[in-house]
């Protein structure tokens, strides 16, 4: 057990921080949020060159074979500059599922170009009625006479779905709408006939898409993993995405909090720095305490994201996501409040962090969802029977 960063991890943190400082500050985000793509191919390519896009992938696909904690550190640092590139959809969601479930041919085809920053990926799982239930899937894939699949249905808020070269799509191959068995994953080219992509711009300025599948024809080789058994893998991938969201959220919260404390030391009213007022000092102290709690939970979730024991992973990810949502909210609402009127202007950066955080809080399960899941784990009642 060791909670200090290794020498390699410190180097990663330093290089990402330098990248954010030199090439990926808030000014860049202000440019990308009004562009069609919402992020920049040059920056994506640069991240590929640095090796960040392959941080958790195996070496034989051009990756580095690092731990999830390494990836969390990268996401945390990138968040300081509101970096908009689609790391979570490409690396954690689609990339993670392809590497976990794919055959060698699928992996060799899809992973190296993404890791080099030449392509990006997405995972289409959420539907308008599904909320956070991964087994609630109306989109259907039916077997065709040629042994392929035909897909019909709709997926909403597909992160990076507007740009992804390949979309991993969850579709029901058997069973009723909410059956745990019978959901399968398919590899779908983004430009395939019969797929209509409606670009969406989120409240945070990030891009997603609404996908409509109308008789999309896929060959049998498009199936990813075992037919009908996708839900446990989806749970694994969404958990890792939730842990990734906590890491990104940590960077956002750190940056918001730092800027707020700086503001308290600068702004004068009643002839004094407002940071000298005890009411505001105590608010800042409480924000600091919640921030530390967020960090503890985030680290634990990142460590356990690699665990092969599902309950262990779920417990820590849910605890971290709850803290990001509850504790994080306390920090972000007060970051705006302590900035006063300027905090509510679009010109002040702090509001941009606020909005991205609010999106991360809803993605991959909100507080109620994770509390609900935590209380249902077998470990919640373990040890009670024995007294």
């Amino acid at each position: 057990m060791n909670f200090d960063l290794s020498k390699e991890q410190k180097m990663i943190v330093d290089s990402v921080a330098a990248f954010v400082k030199e090439a990926s500050g808030v000014e860049r985000f202000r440019r990308t949020r009004t562009s069609d793509l919402g992020w920049e191919r040059d920056a994506w390519r640069a991240m590929g060159d640095y090796g960040w896009l392959g941080i958790v992938a195996a070496e034989r696909y051009g990756g580095i074979g690092g731990s999830f904690v390494d990836l969390a550190l990268i996401l945390e640092q990138l968040a300081h500059g509101l970096t908009p590139e689609p790391l979570i959809p490409s690396l954690v969601l689609a990339g993670g599922l392809i590497e976990r479930l794919g055959n060698e041919e699928q992996k060799q085809e899809l992973l190296p170009p993404m890791i080099e920053g030449r392509t990006s990926l997405a995972l289409a799982y959420a539907e308008r009625q599904s909320r956070f239930d991964l087994d609630d899937c109306r989109t259907r894939a039916t077997v065709t006479r040629s042994g392929g699949y035909s897909i019909d249905g709709e997926k909403t808020w597909v992160q990076n779905g507007h740009a992804a070269n390949t979309v991993v799509v969850a579709a029901r191959t058997s069973g009723s709408q909410t059956a745990r068995d019978g959901v399968s994953l398919f590899l779908v080219p983004g430009d395939i006939h019969g797929l209509e992509r409606t670009p969406l711009t989120g409240m945070d300025g990030h891009r997603a898409a609404f996908l409509r599948f109308s008789g999309v024809q896929l060959p049998g080789s498009a199936l990813l993993g075992t037919l009908g058994e996708a839900v446990p893998a989806l749970e694994w991938a969404i958990d890792r995405a939730a842990a990734a969201a906590c890491a990104e959220g940590q960077g956002l919260l750190d940056e918001m909090f730092r800027r707020t404390v700086d503001y308290l030391k600068e702004r004068e009213q009643f002839g004094a720095k407002i940071g000298s007022f005890q009411a505001l000092q105590h608010r800042a102290a409480d924000m600091f305490a919640e921030l530390e709690l967020c960090r503890g939970a985030m680290i634990l979730a990142a460590i356990k994201a690699d665990s092969e024991e599902p309950e262990e992973r779920m417990a820590e990810v849910s605890a971290a996501k709850l803290q990001l949502t509850d504790g994080g909210w306390f920090i972000q609402e007060n970051a705006i409040q302590l900035h006063g009127g300027v905090g509510v202007t679009d010109e002040q950066d702090v509001g941009l962090y606020f909005k991205r955080l609010r999106v991360l809080q809803s993605l991959f399960g909100d507080a109620d969802h994770h509390v609900e899941r935590f209380q249902g784990l077998a470990r919640f009642e373990r040890g009670l029977a024995a007294g």
Partner: protein
């Protein structure tokens, strides 16, 4: 950064577990199993058993009796103690004055005081607060006048925890009333049992137990040799000690035990055809506290890990105290809710009407209102965070 355990680590944890199982006397185990609280005699009995195994103060330097464990072993040790609901050893000697004597004491003081602290032969208490010196501790007035090789003490301490059981008290007194108030404070070790002129009057708290005392000094004579650090240097020592104290009173381990106790109460309370633990609202309320506790546990171990690297508990211990004390209160507040009508129960409620392990819950709930006050009130902790961590301007 990783949290994996080697085969050696697991063997160590197994060793600790089997020690606890094989050593804990039946009457203590019976209480531990129902999550009860332990009285002074039981705590000291357990202290001596742990001491015989060499684990009374694992964090002390090895030369003074520490176990020489790494962070992982310390983590595993405390996990096993908490899992078994073992009595928590009194912190005043092992966790507070002991480390301080190691840091600031003379060789003679180390030789005199450390072995009996370790063995549990001498019990300590803390004399900081006075009737007019609470949050503003530096305004303390217990006078210490020099007379030959001695100091003569006159005045009063209050909120002295467990003074009625203690052999010794470490205290802050005033040796100089001119100049800056922090500069006239001196740190003394006082023999409570053999010093004429000391009167201890325990008083009841809201919890209905005599957890604290007023301690009066009336021409009590204390050798100057019992001074730790220089005359007038007590404030520096006091601040170092408050760091140790705050880390401990985050109560992270105790909160873990309380959470299990809370679930046990809920699982024993009928609710319709089922139990309160099956009640969706209650389950979610418990889950929220448990999830927050996990984050706090991680914070605690990161602090431990930092301490292992030789960094003394600094202002970050204020954060642990702040969050930990509030969580302790929230858990006992929920335990009261879980009891329903039985929340009215009190220490002497007869058997047959209230389970034995439920009798002290209202008492603990009341007593723990002190958690956000003692060890420096949470408002003082917020001041410390604002000033020492965030460097916000003074008024």
């Amino acid at each position: 950064m990783e949290m994996t355990f080697t085969a050696e680590d697991r063997a160590f944890a197994e060793d600790v577990r089997s020690f606890i199982e094989s050593t804990m006397p039946p009457h203590i185990k019976a209480k531990a199993d129902i999550g009860g609280s332990f009285n002074h005699a039981e705590t000291m009995e357990w202290h001596r058993l742990v001491y015989q195994r060499g684990w009374a103060a694992p964090d002390w330097p090895v030369e003074y009796g520490g176990a020489g464990w790494n962070v992982t072993q310390r983590y595993l040790y405390s996990e096993e103690q908490v899992r078994a609901n073992a009595p928590g050893l009194s912190p005043f000697g092992l966790g507070m004055v002991g480390p301080l004597i190691i840091q600031f004491g003379t060789d003679d003081q180390k030789a005199r005081y450390l072995p009996p602290i370790l063995a549990g032969d001498e019990v300590w208490c803390q004399g900081y607060s006075e009737p007019n010196a609470g949050s503003d501790l530096a305004s303390l007035q217990l006078r210490a006048d020099k007379d030959g090789d001695d100091y003569i003490l006159n005045g009063q301490k209050t909120w002295t925890s467990a003074a009625q059981y203690a052999d010794w008290i470490f205290l802050l007194c005033r040796t100089e009333s001119r100049g800056k108030k922090q500069h006239g404070i001196t740190f003394l070790l006082v023999d409570l049992k053999n010093t004429p002129g000391i009167t201890i009057k325990p008083f009841l708290t809201l919890g209905g137990t005599p957890a604290f005392s007023d301690t009066f000094f009336d021409d009590a004579r204390v050798p100057q040799a019992n001074r730790v650090g220089p005359e007038g240097g007590g404030w520096t020592i006091a601040k170092a000690l408050l760091g140790h104290e705050r880390t401990g009173i985050g109560g992270v381990g105790r909160s873990g035990a309380w959470l299990r106790r809370l679930k046990r109460i809920a699982s024993e309370s009928p609710r319709g055809e089922s139990t309160l633990l099956r009640d969706p609202t209650m389950r979610r309320r418990i889950a929220r506290l448990e999830m927050r506790h996990r984050a706090l546990t991680m914070m605690n171990y990161r602090a431990l890990s930092a301490a292992q690297l030789g960094r003394a508990p600094g202002p970050e211990s204020s954060t642990l105290k702040l969050l930990g004390s509030e969580l302790q209160q929230q858990i006992t507040e929920l335990a009261m809710d879980a009891l329903g009508h039985d929340a009215q129960g009190w220490l002497e409620t007869p058997e047959g009407t209230l389970e034995p392990h439920q009798r002290n819950i209202a008492s603990e709930f009341c007593y723990l209102r002190a958690a956000t006050i003692y060890g420096g009130s949470n408002e003082i902790q917020r001041n410390i965070i604002a000033k020492n961590i965030l460097a916000l301007p003074g008024t």
